[in-house]
């Protein structure tokens, strides 16, 4: 499903945090539920600020939420 060279563990982290819903995570991070869903499915790369906010909600380092698989260049999201 993911088109981007970034994977994430948001779904598992939500489950581990009292089965947090996408809506609850969205409200705590300041985005819509649809944006959280798009991030989870790898359809959208969040900004650094949103990524850090997500990590802060789960209380883990950023690298435990997002992992980059791409090379040095040439993997930019196509516009």
């Amino acid at each position: 499903m993911s088109r981007l060279p970034i994977s994430n563990t948001i779904r598992r982290l939500r489950f581990d945090h009292d089965e947090m819903t996408q809506q609850q995570l969205a409200e705590r991070v300041g985005v819509t539920r649809q944006t959280v869903n798009a991030i989870e499915l790898g359809k959208y790369s969040p900004s650094l600020e949103v990524a850090f906010r997500m990590a802060a909600v789960f209380g883990v380092p950023l690298e435990q939420v997002f992992e980059y698989h791409g090379g040095g260049r040439g993997d930019e999201q196509k516009w």
Partner: protein, 139 residues
Amino acid sequence: MSFREKSAWISLISILLVSGFFFWQVPARMTAASHPALVRGLWYCVIALVLIEVVAHIVVAMRAPKDAQAPKDERERLIELKAIRIAHYVFLVGVLLAVSSMIHLGANVFAMAYHVLLAFVTAEVVNYAARIVYHRRGL
């Protein structure tokens, strides 16, 4: 479906309905003497469009007030910018075609004005259609 996507659907459908009616009427009634009436008709269509959009948005907002009042998030702002960029190029091509119609086909200035209006409406349709596609796809 997010409020922004619902808003895009409302705008797309209302523009298609109102402009479809207007442009269906224009060619049949376009004579040199009919332009004041067509301009009045255009204003009626604009008023109708605004009323339809306002009422539909109020209904949708009342069903999900939190979503409606929330500011656009970063993904929604990006979707809007990408859709407007596409619509810009559609409008540009449409205007060039409208000007060409006057230069190369001898269309009069009123016909060119309607062609420009058609280009604007087409660009708006593309704008809202693109937003819907981006919302459906995630981005």
